[in-house]
């Protein structure tokens, strides 16, 4: 735990902090754009989700793991992961409920050609996937970077947030 605290202090400086805030804001904005326009321009839920996760990653690199976990607790990330995945599943299942018996039917109207509000469920799917992917990758990121434990150490060094029971 000690070296994590030291790491946090090293990373922190006013310049790094300010720049990171700005960069992070832009990255997240870009990620949202990629998600929202996924059905019209290159990108989509997955790419956008990874970009959003990169935004969180920069926060972690600059301010340390603690800050990231305080913004997005692991249990919350795990929950968002499940919710995002389930939303996507629901959109797929909607076809069975609304248009009779066709799994993954695009059951919403298609809207105008090449408009933002078009293509039925596709943009909604993108949003659900983005939510899911962001949460997943932030989880993976946090999980793998807390693993900087020494070999042969006791299990107690693992993070407690993940624990059940």
């Amino acid at each position: 735990m000690k070296n994590l605290a030291a790491e946090e202090r090293e990373g922190m400086s006013v310049i790094v902090g300010t720049v990171t805030h700005w960069v992070c804001a832009f990255i997240i904005l870009y990620g949202l754009y990629i998600v929202a326009y996924g059905h019209l321009t290159p990108g989509g839920g997955f790419a956008g989700g990874v970009i959003l996760a990169c935004g969180f990653m920069i926060l972690m690199l600059a301010f340390g793991k603690r800050r990231l976990v305080s913004m997005l607790p692991i249990s919350r990330a795990a929950m968002l992961d499940c919710v995002g995945a389930f939303l996507f599943w629901l959109l797929a299942f909607g076809g069975m409920l609304f248009v009779g018996n066709v799994f993954f039917k695009n059951f919403l109207p298609h809207g105008g050609r090449l408009r933002l509000w078009s293509a039925g469920i596709i943009p909604l799917c993108n949003v659900a996937i983005a939510l899911k992917v962001t949460a997943s990758l932030v989880l993976a990121l946090v999980a793998l970077s807390v693993l900087r434990v020494k070999a042969g150490g006791s299990d107690e060094e693992f993070i407690t947030d993940i624990d059940e029971e």
């Binding site: 499940c82 919710v83 069975m96 018996n101 039917k105 059940e164």
Partner: protein, 531 residues
């Protein structure tokens, strides 16, 4: 509402939602998992009677979209998966109390089922790859679930070899796409038939076969053979299967290597590439099967670790299945599929027995046990039944499937293979007599004076499987028609239908590419074999 997509969608939703259950509500997790398994079993068994059909995802008729294909073979696989899963799930609530992380365990467990059902149902090669990866990744994590040294090591090796296998498969798919421009299995099958395909060994010998198709076939056999743990590719199995928590060992040995290994291999080779009796592919399959049978049993005989011994027997028994299917005669394929079903039942039971013994005694060493029958009568009795089944003693199911495989070998004029099958069966019997002698019979050791039978749910799950060991023998009786086995096979609605849908390539194409039929739940026309 057509229930076909539910076979995949239900366990998937369960997997997504179970981690959201509050930690304290451990009971809710158990109940949801058991209820889902029960629902799947009910749906799968009801599907046996429903007509063969294709289901087109998103309303896009294949090959534009992805299709699910329900035919005899997938009905058989779905039923086996669902029934064995249900029995194993009953075992979990008690057994898994010694591990933490129950919600994640069930989530991964359900994902594995979703993956297997997806592989069994899909009519699209790339989709098969995706669902195969779901099942595989869930199983990698489950093998390491205990987080102990051996488990992690076994899991890592399993993961590496499993990923190589997946990439072989993906590469094969990419090659087929490069040549034929589609990834739908039925569409590919049509196009391969047009270009001549691998049609039999004679064409390969004459140099007419397309080298690209040959390479793709080699990749499929290597990749899916790795998943099925056939002998040159078996290195991961003896470590991975015993390391997992017992219900998972039962699932891996009983179902996973069959659903994503043997079934996927058989489906790709028979329905897409095309297998002919006496052809090159058939010969390779029989060779792999025979080598697996011999080596698996020889390695098993020397084992003293209960679960490891069972894992080696899995290799050997998978060899029987592949030998039967590799014969490519109607009787051989039916016998192979029948043995697949039987092996799923008795091998999961054997693993559950081993887990029950471990649960009470804390050891897997056969030498340390002894006389457990006196203290654990249910475990002992079910284990005896399962041992006799796997060793091929009448009237248990293993006897009939092995008998049919041997008869099929004789009919095809493959005396050598028939002899191997008999010898391996005798060795299997010897190995399991050893297990019975050292673990369950003989004098009870001093240190086991205080142990008791396992709790009721675990016992119930073992009894259920033991009953199935006897009950599935009935499936064989239908084949013994007075007009001979062929006629019996032709009339049979379960094994026969499974065999017919696997070997009838044109029928598969017609069924898979037919537009969605309006589903009528009242229809009782369950014997459509597509010919």
């Amino acid at each position: 509402m057509d229930v076909l997509p539910l076979m995949v969608a239900l366990p998937m939703a369960g997997g997504f939602l179970l981690p959201l259950v509050p930690k304290k509500r451990s009971l809710v997790t158990d109940v949801v998992a058991v209820a889902l398994a029960l629902a799947l079993a009910v749906i799968a068994l009801s599907l046996i009677g429903s007509p063969d059909r294709a289901y087109h995802m998103g309303g896009w008729t294949a090959p534009i979209g992805i299709n699910l294909v329900l035919d005899g073979t997938s009905k058989l696989m779905l039923a086996v998966i669902a029934v064995v899963t249900f029995s194993v799930v009953l075992y979990c609530p008690t057994y898994m109390t010694r591990f933490t992380g129950k919600r994640k365990f069930y989530s991964l467990f359900l994902m594995m089922i979703a993956g297997m059902n997806g592989v069994v149902l899909t009519g699209d090669l790339f989709n098969l790859f995706v669902f195969l990866e779901i099942a595989s990744i869930a199983s990698y994590a489950l093998v390491a679930f205990g987080c102990e040294r051996d488990e992690l090591e076994a899991s890592f090796r399993y993961l590496v070899l499993g990923s190589v296998a997946s990439y072989f498969l993906l590469f094969g798919i990419a090659l087929l796409y490069a040549k034929l421009g589609t990834v739908n299995m039925a569409h590919l099958s049509q196009k391969i038939a047009e270009v001549g395909g691998l049609a039999g060994g004679d064409v390969v010998a004459a140099g007419k076969a397309s080298p690209l198709l040959v390479f793709a076939t080699v990749l499929f056999i290597c990749g899916l053979g790795l998943k099925a743990a056939l002998v040159p590719f078996h290195a991961w199995l003896p470590d991975a299967h015993p390391s997992a928590p017992t219900p998972i060992s039962a699932m891996l040995s009983g179902l996973l290597i069959k659903a994503i290994g043997v079934y996927a291999l058989a489906r790709v080779l028979f329905s897409v590439i095309g297998v002919h009796e006496g052809g090159a592919v058939s010969t390779v399959l029989m060779g792999l099967g025979a080598v697996s049978m011999i080596l698996g049993v020889l390695l098993a005989v020397a084992q003293w670790d209960y679960k490891r011994l069972l894992a080696y027997h899995s290799i050997s028994q998978i060899g029987y299945v592949v030998l039967g299917i590799g014969l490519a005669t109607p009787l051989g394929v039916a016998a192979g599929l029948f043995h697949l079903l039987n092996h799923a039942v008795f091998k999961s039971l054997l693993f559950l027995n081993a887990g029950a013994v471990e649960y009470r005694t804390g050891t897997r060493e056969l030498g340390e046990m002894g006389g457990l029958n006196k203290k654990m009568p249910v475990t002992g009795a079910t284990s005896f039944l399962a041992s006799m089944s796997i060793a091929g003693i009448p009237p248990f199911n293993g006897f009939f499937s092995k008998l049919l495989i041997i008869v099929a070998c004789f009919q095809a004029g493959r005396w050598g293979y028939a002899l191997i099958a008999v010898v391996v069966s005798v060795l299997t019997l010897a190995s399991f007599l050893k297990v019975q002698k050292y673990a369950f019979f003989g004098p009870l050791k001093e240190k086991w004076q205080n142990i008791r039978e396992v709790p009721v749910l675990m016992a119930a799950s073992m009894v259920l499987l033991a009953v199935l060991c006897l009950a599935t023998s009935v499936l064989a009786f239908k084949l013994f028609d007075k007009d001979g086995l062929e006629q019996g096979l032709r009339n049979d609605r379960f094994l026969g239908a499974a065999q017919r849908s696997l070997t009838d390539r044109e029928g598969y194409v017609t069924r898979a590419l037919s537009p969605a039929v309006e589903f009528k739940p009242t229809s009782t026309d369950g014997t459509d074999d597509g010919t």
